[in-house]
Symmetry: C2
Subunit: 455 residues, 2 copies
């Protein structure tokens, strides 16, 4: 059953890449309202593509960008596959070597890549699964199992519509296992199944001082400068050991179990190579933790954006009326994002000097989650992946936050399994994002093998 499917995948690769390029040309940036129409177009494109392989698919409205849901009849295990069609913003645009939404296949020193925003995160990844299904359908006239498809368009902007939609459509989306393709390989030759994900809490803060911009000659020194206040409160979020100072922040942060620690040590993670890839040499963060632990099992607090005052060419001696920053927390264990939001806001508010006020905007909150590795699908997938790749598949952690996995469990009682083929140098969320043609090709083959095992 499987071999002709794999052969079909190999034969059809050029067409599969053309389809992906077409999908990548749609600038579906979800966080920027100016791109709303393009998100809609991307959803329509997915519906049409699913229909072309016999899936009963449709676009479903939400208060934000639409969902795409589809179902294919079949026997055996019922799997629901999740991906997201929205992409990150592209700024700073001047650092891209080619336009982000004019994707192309490029030859590089490390092999052929598909270049463009979304090529890896997540359009390229989600298409690996659809292409595997297309090959099964072409060869055998049907998919090998009962499969549902569930795509959202707000993953890069906090997924505001996701939970209500899953609650309202729980019966339709529930399955034996949820498959999610939004993660990476462990190494270039080592596929990975993610067993734990960090949660994410986003906050935007604006410090407000005088009621108008002031001249620093007339008011400098004697009046409150919101940028100075902002740097003080942000600088206070970490102590000298890199620990986060928000009160009660570490409540619910577990120490790593010895067996997992041993398993991770066996992975032979090369943190020098990992950091060297991006021009760094030394692990920052908590001084008493290993790099892998910091990425997979420790919480973080990062400033993702900051702005205030005059930022153009030249100089302007202004004291601005306000200054802002975007701050995010990655969460682990049973850390409660809502309690942390509250403590963070109180901490900042308590630090304010006289004549200053602060405004907060909430940008999403999700807890960390751990996968049910004892579910039989995990062992099936591990074998399938090990058949396709040079090295056997590893159970790994993930520093990113993919709240959908927790939602499948909490809302639908459906265990989730995260398998993806991105590489560390894919530059997701950065200029010049790419996806290796090898990731795409072997990714499709991997899903074909996994579907065969699940059938």
């Amino acid at each position: 059953m499987l071999d002709p499917v794999l052969a079909k995948i190999d034969d059809d690769l050029p067409n599969a890449m053309e389809r992906l390029l077409e999908f990548l040309r749609i600038p579906s940036i979800s966080t920027d309202p100016a791109y709303k129409m393009h998100c809609d177009t991307a959803a329509d494109w997915l519906v049409e593509d699913l229909k072309s392989i016999g899936v009963d698919a449709g676009k479903r409205t939400t208060p934000g960008h639409p969902m795409v849901v589809g179902h294919a009849e079949g026997t055996g295990t019922h799997a629901v596959f999740y991906g997201h069609y929205d992409v990150q913003p592209v700024d700073p645009l001047d650092l891209w070597d080619s336009p982000p939404f004019e994707p192309a296949i490029e030859d590089t020193a490390k092999g052929k890549v598909i270049r463009g925003r979304g090529s890896s995160d997540d359009k390229g990844q989600l298409m690996t699964f659809i292409e595997a299904c297309r090959a099964w359908k072409a060869v055998h006239g049907a998919l090998p199992a009962r499969i549902s498809f569930f795509f959202e368009g707000e993953e890069e902007s906090g997924s505001p519509s996701l939970v209500p939609f899953m609650q309202d459509n729980a019966d339709e989306l529930r399955a034996d296992i949820a498959l999610i393709c939004d993660t990476g390989l462990f190494g270039d030759s080592t596929p990975a199944i993610v067993t734990r994900l960090r949660g994410l809490l986003g906050e935007e803060i604006t410090i407000i001082g005088p009621d108008k911009d002031l001249h620093s000659g007339m008011y400098g020194g004697v009046s409150m400068n919101p940028i100075r206040v902002l740097t003080k409160v942000l600088a206070a979020l970490h102590d000298d050991q890199g620990r986060i100072t928000v009160p009660d922040f570490y409540n619910g942060v577990p120490e790593l179990p010895k067996d997992i620690e041993a398993q991770w040590n066996d992975l032979g993670f090369d943190h020098t190579a990992f950091l060297g890839e991006v021009g760094l040499s030394k692990a920052a963060g908590e001084t008493d933790r290993s790099a892998l632990e910091m990425i997979w099992s420790r919480p973080t607090c990062e400033i993702n954006g900051i702005w205030g005052g005059y930022t153009g060419d030249g100089f302007k001696t202004v004291l601005p009326a306000k200054a802002s920053a975007k701050v995010s927390f990655r969460l682990v264990g049973t850390q409660d994002p809502h309690a942390i939001r509250e403590n963070f806001r109180k901490m900042i508010t308590d630090m304010l000097p006289p004549d200053c006020s602060v405004e907060f905007i909430a940008h999403g909150a999700s807890s960390a989650s751990e996968m049910a590795t004892n579910h039989p699908a995990f062992e099936a997938a591990r074998c399938a992946l090990s058949d396709e790749w040079p090295n056997g598949a590893a159970f790994v952690g993930c520093g990113g936050s993919i709240p959908i996995a927790g939602h499948f469990k909490k809302i639908l009682n459906t265990d989730a399994m995260l398998i993806g083929f991105a590489k560390d140098d894919d530059a997701i969320h950065s200029p010049n994002e790419k996806y290796d043609v090898e990731s795409f090709h072997k990714g499709i083959r991997s899903w074909a093998r996994i579907l065969a095992k699940l059938a």
Copy 2:
């Protein structure tokens, strides 16, 4: 001699305002290269206007924006008048209630104002002097003294061409006294002669970490975040008492002489009203200094702009490759701007964690200066101002930095006298800049009186 000139000024006020509005319509923003042509246009406008009152005027090229120099023959004291025709940038544009370069006369609760960028700083102010000359010329056929005019177009962008130009044209610009109109009244009814000015040092710093923007899920916690480093180094520039921590920063900062302190106390400065004007209630800055002392005789360090990472709508979990800030210092006494620049850069560099580098851009450096109040022009001007305004003129300090005063003394050995008619609520460097019609009208009359005394 004087009375018909004052009468002419009163009669001609509507025409004088029309001329000012025409001048204000030229968007001569010097710091932004996009406005270079408009700076040139403003210089041409001044040349024509000076010629119209019989001044032998011309535009003089520099490596930056042009200077305007003119001479009018006359007897008695030789005065050189300085002003600047360039203006501040206008962002944030959305906070303006009317377009910044479509000036208009507005009725307000506090009287008529001239609204628009540059109305107060410095086009409106410099025109008070030109209009006074125009009235003298119209009534008596000549100016009452030998007068030179010297206007620059780079005051708001660090005056890069000023010192070389003054050095190259020293003989032409040297005079018995330099008159500068770029300062304010002490109170609405109290004219002021500025006797001390703070210096200004500008620095732009960029902290550089990873060699590309990173995803905070993958790298958060373990890799250096330049925004975090930037907030740490900027937050360290002041201690808890508001003192500046740059090594040796206070070298050359004198304690205020008792006689000046007594004189300032007599001024009855209302710091509550001063701060209340901009929505503040409490003096920030050094905890053991009075508000007036902090503005007039203490040095400052302020952050005038900050930017890095994602600053658009929504949220992006990016760790940026770099983050920047513009920092300025106001200097007093004999503080050496070049030594402070060096110590500031060393302090920042020494604070950097591994894997971080920093780049600096210098944005101008000028020392503080004190005026020669024993020069006879000071007493003459004090009497003339006291004749025009309800309250007698005060000798005051100024928190701003007008390096030209020090240049006149150092390069030309010409003492400078700073007299201006701006008010604290003029919103210079801010949206909705204005100049009171009363400032303009009584300013013109004040100069007519001062010229009569100097003649």
